[in-house]
């Protein structure tokens, strides 16, 4: 029986042609927006998570904050961290080691072309260098070798930088080539494996001594990487570092000009921002769906008025009130469902195109996250939105008088 109503409703929608399609647009746009943004947002979260590369969960990052904070983290701080901060943190309880890192913007020249990227320092102390490589599990050489203690005049470049199509320098860079970094020549001694992370694939690493001499930042430190001994005491250690830094920088609680964070906490912040954006856009999409629902209600009301005669005929041949109600109710639901279906297809397509664009932009390998439950609930939701919009017109249709309708 229910199949017959769907069949009848579908035939009626087909008959109404362009008007049905126009009615669908509101729902369609709303659903497409919801599906594409949820799938894109989830994909984006995935991409961000992969960019963070949380190789080691015991690492705490300490950065200076400040108003002049352009460029890589901590590099433009009004009151930068120093090596003595690193040394002081290293002495705290539950700290296995603390290593100073610098990350700075650089200009590279090759093949008479110029590109801008950033350099990350590798400690001259081999133990510390090994800690850095262990912590960031992604840094592995594809060709050549990594920066080691005592290396001077050499660099290791990220995988994208070696690729002439991606480095903006018009030519592939090979191990042994010489690059000019901020006007000084460096020989490429290694190329990193592709990681899929925008950070590591575009990075230049060099010995911290070379980097300090080249960029002249003196005793400044951009990030202090801290490894804890016992992860259970992570929060206590963070508190201790914050307390120490407040003392050293002479600031009160709540006025910190530095930031102590873990990869997880940074990730949580980013994810909450993405979720916030998703919710905001879903609210906007909901307005579109609401407008779509009004459109369906309007179309169904008009349809009831136009089809009074048909309602009368159906009642005269035995249709009960509920039969007429079901027919209009299902018809409205079907309008929503078709809108939802097209919206889902469009949303999925936008999701894929969006991630493809994202991937080509940042070199990631993200896919949109399209779950069965997302599609299922969107479709059911679309049908219900349509059906609820058609509720009043359907009730009106069901209670029409057959005698008056048949004369209409």
């Amino acid at each position: 029986m229910i199949v017959d109503y769907f069949n009848l409703a579908f035939k009626n929608l087909k008959r109404r042609g362009i008007r049905s399609w126009l009615t669908l647009i509101g729902i369609l746009i709303g659903v497409a927006a919801v599906v594409s943004l949820i799938s894109l947002g989830n994909g984006l979260k995935d991409a961000v998570n992969s960019q963070f590369n949380i190789g080691s969960t015991e690492i705490i990052s300490v950065q200076a904050g400040g108003v002049n904070n352009y460029g890589p983290p901590g590099s433009g701080a009004a009151k930068p961290l120093t090596q003595s901060d690193t040394d002081a943190i290293a002495k705290l309880a539950n700290v296995q080691w603390a290593i100073s890192r610098n990350i700075r913007n650089i200009k590279i020249e090759f093949n008479k072309e110029v590109a801008f990227t950033y350099a990350a320092s590798i400690p001259d102390n081999q133990n510390y260098a090994d800690h850095v490589y262990e912590t960031i599990g992604e840094i592995k050489p594809a060709q050549g070798k990594l920066i080691e203690s005592g290396d001077r005049g050499v660099i290791v470049i990220g995988n994208n930088l070696a690729d002439g199509n991606k480095n903006g320098l018009g030519r592939d860079i090979h191990v042994g080539n010489t690059l000019s970094v901020n006007g000084k020549d460096f020989r490429v001694q290694g190329i990193l494996k592709k990681t899929g992370s925008i950070l590591y694939d575009n990075m230049v690493t060099m010995n911290e001594v070379d980097m300090k001499n080249l960029l002249g930042y003196g005793n400044q430190v951009d990030i202090i990487a801290v490894k804890v001994i016992d992860q259970k005491q992570m929060n206590q250690t963070i508190n201790n570092i914050e307390k120490l830094m407040r003392q050293r920088r002479n600031v009160k609680i709540g006025q910190e000009d530095f930031d102590v964070s873990t990869p997880q906490s940074m990730l949580a912040t980013v994810n909450s921002i993405i979720s916030g954006i998703q919710i905001f856009i879903i609210i906007i999409a909901s307005i579109s769906i609401f407008v779509g629902a009004i459109g369906i209600a309007n179309t169904m009301t008009t349809s009831v008025l136009e089809r009074r005669r048909e309602i009368g005929i159906m009642k005269s041949i035995g249709a009960r009130n509920e039969h007429i109600f079901y027919q209009f109710f299902i018809e409205a639901g079907l309008l929503g469902l078709i809108g939802g279906l097209i919206g889902v297809l469009l949303g999925v397509a936008i999701g894929y195109m969006g991630t493809a664009a994202l991937n080509s932009f940042i070199g990631s390998t993200t896919k949109p996250l399209i779950s069965f439950s997302l599609i299922f609930f969107t479709m059911v939701g679309s049908f219900l939105i349509g059906a609820v919009s058609g509720l009043l017109p359907a009730i009106k249709a069901a209670h029409e008088s057959p005698v008056e309708d048949i004369r209409a």
Binding site: R15, K315, G318, S401, I406
Partner: protein
């Protein structure tokens, strides 16, 4: 003969404007026996369409009672009335009143959907009925693709879908040329011969007198006279 329908002292009054009212039927009593071929005759405005609506349980009387198989159906709800007419009365309208976006076969199937007949039975019955009205090769045509006569034959097939005892035809030939109209009336005669009770509402005395065996003559909402065909001649009848 078994009485199938009885209207007892039926009034139908329509309200018009604030206080005005139109009396469409005034104290009308009539009865229909099983197997009758009855015509309700009268000029425009005589109340014959109102009468048809009441006989066909499309409407309820303002006053008086309507009995179907001795059950008073005057105060049934709209849904219950729909059930009654769906099972027991088949309608044929002057305007054919087919659903335009359904094929001939689907139109015939529709009353059976409302009676929840299973799909196999519906399809089989619709095909048989359309074959009976000589439209076997037009089953999948839409009403817009059929002539007036063909549409009326689809309407006849539809009226027979649930195998009702009574066929109620409102000016069944009103929109047809005389030849096609004759053909439609022949179908109704055949159905009557097979035991169906036929009630036609018409303003055409020739049509009524040629096919019906009993005529209720309506004027100004009242039955003016009742005539019956006895041995080929029309004579006044007791009500």
């Amino acid at each position: 003969m078994t009485e199938i329908i009885r209207l007892k002292e039926v009034w139908k009054v329509y309200k018009e404007g604030e206080e005005g009212q139109v009396i469409a039927l005034k104290d009308v009593s009539l009865h229909v026996n099983e197997g009758d071929f009855i015509a309700v005759m009268g000029p425009s405005g005589s109340g014959k369409s109102t009468g048809m609506n009441l006989i066909g349980s499309l409407d309820t009387p303002t006053k008086g009672s309507i009995f179907l198989d001795k059950h008073n159906i005057s105060h049934l709800s709209e849904s219950d009335l729909a059930q009654v007419r769906g099972r027991r009365i088949g309608f044929i309208f002057q305007q054919f009143n087919l659903i335009p976006n359904l094929t001939a076969k689907e139109n015939v199937t529709l009353p059976m959907i409302f009676q929840e007949t299973d799909e196999f039975q519906r399809e089989k019955k619709a095909a048989e009925l359309l074959k009976m009205v000589d439209l076997k090769d037009r089953m999948d045509h839409y009403p817009g693709e059929l002539s007036g006569g063909q549409q009326q034959r689809v309407a006849i097939a539809r009226a027979l879908a649930n195998d009702p005892e009574v066929i109620l035809a409102d000016e069944p030939t009103g929109n047809l040329d005389s030849h096609t109209g004759e053909r439609v009336m022949k179908f109704l005669n055949d159905l009557n011969e097979r035991g169906k009770t036929i009630i036609i509402v018409t303003h055409d005395p020739h049509l009524a007198m040629e096919h019906a065996r009993k005529i209720y003559w309506l004027r100004d909402g009242q039955i003016e006279k009742v005539t019956e065909k006895v041995k080929g001649k029309w004579v006044d009848s007791h009500r």
